[in-house]
Symmetry: D3
Amino acid sequence: MSQTPRTDGRRADELRPLRLEPGIAPHATGSVLCCFGKTQVICAVTIEKKVPGWMMQQKVAGGWITAEYSLLPYSTHDRKQRDIAKGKLDGRTVEIQRLIGRALRAVTDLSKLPGMTLWIDCDVLQADGGTRTASITGAYVAARLAVHKLMTAGELAENPLVDTVAAISAGIWQDQPILDLDYPEDRDASVDANIVVTGSGRFVELQVAGEESTYDHAQLGQIIALGTLGAGKLAEAQKACLAAHAV
Amino acid sequence: MSQTPRTDGRRADELRPLRLEPGIAPHATGSVLCCFGKTQVICAVTIEKKVPGWMMQQKVAGGWITAEYSLLPYSTHDRKQRDIAKGKLDGRTVEIQRLIGRALRAVTDLSKLPGMTLWIDCDVLQADGGTRTASITGAYVAARLAVHKLMTAGELAENPLVDTVAAISAGIWQDQPILDLDYPEDRDASVDANIVVTGSGRFVELQVAGEESTYDHAQLGQIIALGTLGAGKLAEAQKACLAAHAV
Amino acid sequence: MSQTPRTDGRRADELRPLRLEPGIAPHATGSVLCCFGKTQVICAVTIEKKVPGWMMQQKVAGGWITAEYSLLPYSTHDRKQRDIAKGKLDGRTVEIQRLIGRALRAVTDLSKLPGMTLWIDCDVLQADGGTRTASITGAYVAARLAVHKLMTAGELAENPLVDTVAAISAGIWQDQPILDLDYPEDRDASVDANIVVTGSGRFVELQVAGEESTYDHAQLGQIIALGTLGAGKLAEAQKACLAAHAV
Amino acid sequence: MSQTPRTDGRRADELRPLRLEPGIAPHATGSVLCCFGKTQVICAVTIEKKVPGWMMQQKVAGGWITAEYSLLPYSTHDRKQRDIAKGKLDGRTVEIQRLIGRALRAVTDLSKLPGMTLWIDCDVLQADGGTRTASITGAYVAARLAVHKLMTAGELAENPLVDTVAAISAGIWQDQPILDLDYPEDRDASVDANIVVTGSGRFVELQVAGEESTYDHAQLGQIIALGTLGAGKLAEAQKACLAAHAV
Amino acid sequence: MSQTPRTDGRRADELRPLRLEPGIAPHATGSVLCCFGKTQVICAVTIEKKVPGWMMQQKVAGGWITAEYSLLPYSTHDRKQRDIAKGKLDGRTVEIQRLIGRALRAVTDLSKLPGMTLWIDCDVLQADGGTRTASITGAYVAARLAVHKLMTAGELAENPLVDTVAAISAGIWQDQPILDLDYPEDRDASVDANIVVTGSGRFVELQVAGEESTYDHAQLGQIIALGTLGAGKLAEAQKACLAAHAV
Amino acid sequence: MSQTPRTDGRRADELRPLRLEPGIAPHATGSVLCCFGKTQVICAVTIEKKVPGWMMQQKVAGGWITAEYSLLPYSTHDRKQRDIAKGKLDGRTVEIQRLIGRALRAVTDLSKLPGMTLWIDCDVLQADGGTRTASITGAYVAARLAVHKLMTAGELAENPLVDTVAAISAGIWQDQPILDLDYPEDRDASVDANIVVTGSGRFVELQVAGEESTYDHAQLGQIIALGTLGAGKLAEAQKACLAAHAV
């Protein structure tokens, strides 16, 4: 059966060009500009030498990782109103920042972050689909750079990151399974999935949502296979980027 | 291999006792008290004869479905502060109400709700794990009852619900896959999944999250199989309840 | 002089059917569903083992009682927007929850609640007039049940409740004084009163408001007489309910 | 039985010195500084040439009266934080401004305020008990002055105020009924009442609250008698003040 | 070259009539009603015996001065909505209260206010241009009165105010430099300046803003000269007022 | 007299290295990364095809320019909490964004922006003093690029920018006047000024504030001279940058 070609001519299982540029935010402990095609996200990690109130109350040892995500107003085709102008975070932002936090915590031994909170900030400079997956993929690199800096400075004894983590989208678009959807594909997809996978190939999170639509077992299998493939390629790129910066 | 028995003695693939009691909120257009074991949720559907602002602006025809979810303060062992007392919805609440709304819209032909918003309110009277899945399962029944009432009253020409929908949790607990986790199981699970399935067996949404943990392909397969099984049983119970009320 | 008959055929001094169903919210320390005719309120009492900040600062001994009140969205004929969706409590809600708190504190020896806050939550499941009076009447029963449970568990040495308390509405409707107004009567009344009385017949609070109208001494006397009568009947029903549950 | 003398030596049925100084806020349509002893309230009435949203939606003819009340930060012995600094109105403020609005509307024929909202602002310059009663008493005078100015300017055809209205406090203090409580008396009273009465001697509102205490029929009668007496004196003073300003 | 006469006939370098009436808010530690022509501001100083959180955290010795500014709703020709009704301070208010605070701190030796916060509240009773300059000018007098009272009471050992401070506006209106603009002049000015000067003739703050317009060096010089002149006259009036009250 | 050398060895009248990199935010209509030494600000201009509510109500013709400013959380040495996390803009942010808006409007003929709002967003990527002056300087370039794009696309008939505008700081530090303060200089300065000047050398705004300190006429003159000099150099750099991009 002949298939509709993708908007930018990619194969169904092809990622967009990936860029990882460390050092975008010099005051952060670790930072990277992570680009999936035209999607550009500033991922920055800063350290706060205290833990959340609930950890202190419950006397939980170790540290914490928390994430914040924001679309900069000029990242979208129509200007996106700032959160503070609306007075609250929208539901989509809340979901994304919770997902980023869980993804990073899943590959971290929190007991090795004594008394610290690792803040992960993801600010989208340009949005063209996949901002949450680019955020997670970049956040890992920024976190690894921050850990390296803290270990070099003697502020951390050991690397708390026990594995790498990356995320990628997949979906059903024009009745075909595709990987790494750009904005027009994402808008028109009937099924939209986000897959978070570790460097060793284990799942951290799988979210597969029918967009006012449903899907069957066969489609689910195709989506999982594509996502696993894509996440593997991202893991290689993360390692190459870090190696190039001697981490 | 011998396994740890479940807290309440259930088999791994066994649901908690299900109760669906229509009519709990007489002023609503449709309502049901949905209980999964000790978890009790008031699900109520009310109708507003207008559509959201963005639909009017974009001149989208048809109607809309939106959901709100709340833990009543006395639903948890320690009193849960009201949302208004904190001044904002917490992230978990936002995620759940977005999930309920998407689940119901996935089985609805919105073009058959002309100029209407169907509000789904899910208020948890007692929380013991699975409040979001009980909410979705009950919300479908409340929505079907509301549609029946509107059709009887001549306010709707056709049934906009094109399928039934139910949701169930599954997870990895004590290294074994189990279905329909109660609160202590949910708290201790290493993987936590929510599966939303239609009466015809298609997926609406699948969310499988490692709880500061990860999982492999085999575990993912087991979770999907359990969830599919559980959702099938819930679909039968929904139909039986509606049939008993002549819907 | 012939009088307009009441909407539901009651005599001027007749209460609506009263129901008090303990145990509606099993996780609460004490709870009751209190119904005045079609008005249904979930009254639940939970315990917090600390006192408000101002008591700690001022080193006031003993405990505190505070109340929250909410109309569930599906309790009214037109869906009532949640407080959190509006971002603040409306004036009516604030007045009612302050009244409930004062009513219960008036019959409580706060020195016998050492270091505790008794939270009274009143959530209206169905609103048909008299929600504040049903809330107070039910709140007393829920509080007494909670106290019983705490004493049985050895967490309270003595009963801090020194009397019972109940509340009832009265008003001038169609130029006649009537007791326990339902919603259509309340909407059309020219004078609207709420009377809070102890089991021993003393007043806790009397609020008699002309609804863009005024009233004379004779009418005030009639309202007070009706309210006193109604509150006496409620006190008997509270005692019977508690006796039936061996409290 | 000998009685404790009042803090300032007044008889039980004696009002504090009353001052009504028109013109305190020259940009307002009508204004007065109303002083009950050391309690000083700026009462100002301004006109907005539109009605609230709900009146427009429900196509209610005529106009509206609404009130806002605030303790200026330096009105109390310890600085009172501004409402905006706390982010919300406290419950006491909400109750008071609702009471002021109802009191004025009870003596107004709203149909004679076509398309207008009369804003009543009461800002307390010095608080020494009775700020709500001084607010209502002054608000009437400010409103009458505003009406006079509007009629003179031809912006109102008729006087919409059908009667005068004033308010006074009474209570049980040291086991004796007293009138017009100052702050120390108010703080120590076991029963606290506010009585709103028209110039023709009809009640607008009666609120009699036990302060973590209760009261009997005899005490209620004494309170009502004192309040009626005091309100009569205030009505005379209002008339004298207006007459002195040729209104 | 002939010039347009000013709206009220003043010379270009003439101040409006100044009034300083101490004691307007008797519960404040120091207060004054400060009038620049029709502009009337209540300036009140109260003392709080603690310092801001950041001073305690950073262990900064001494005390603090902070200011709040508000337009009373009836101070303007069209009623000004209260800040709390809008839910936030507008930008203009924020700028003004920060300016008042900086002005007073510039003439205060904060080390001589041990453990105290001096709250300066400026509430505008009537607004006719120059509310911020009248606020600063009055705030100094209120602060000096408060200091006097505290020293008399033995609560302050030394006068922390090391100089006097006053503020005045100047601007370019109808192409001419003028001093102390009233509201119509302020509205039409092309350049609007506020000048804060100490009694010894040193600048505290200079803000010269083109109102969607620009200005040259010569105009800047004229504005500075006028402002310096006006501030000198205000300093004399402040001293005379205080001397008349034996301070 | 020998003087303390500046932290980075600059002469008193020397600017930090200036960088203007157009195109940082590709979805914006015009954007530039503006760097004053280590201070880096993303300046982006987007267009909204409507005007503010007050312009529509008052039927003001033409368009509007508005600015928003934010410190990204990782721009400062200690992580800066997001505005939305605090729930409101702090006073400093409000002042800065109002200043940016006024600066741009002063060089714009708003009548040549028919029915449009030009949004100027300034997000600080790295903060090292002078973020508001870098914001204004970059905002002009971004606005000019946006205008160029709109004119090329035929969406604007004429260039509404009638002049260029730039801003620079100056101050008194270690008793000497210096230009373009970096963060350590700004923190320690006794006088802090911001000067906004057009390309033709006219002032738009001058703000000279004693930082809990005061200054005399001579110092004011030195500050104005330095600022005028610095702004002239910035104007040349703006023109060169635009010329290099054929604007």
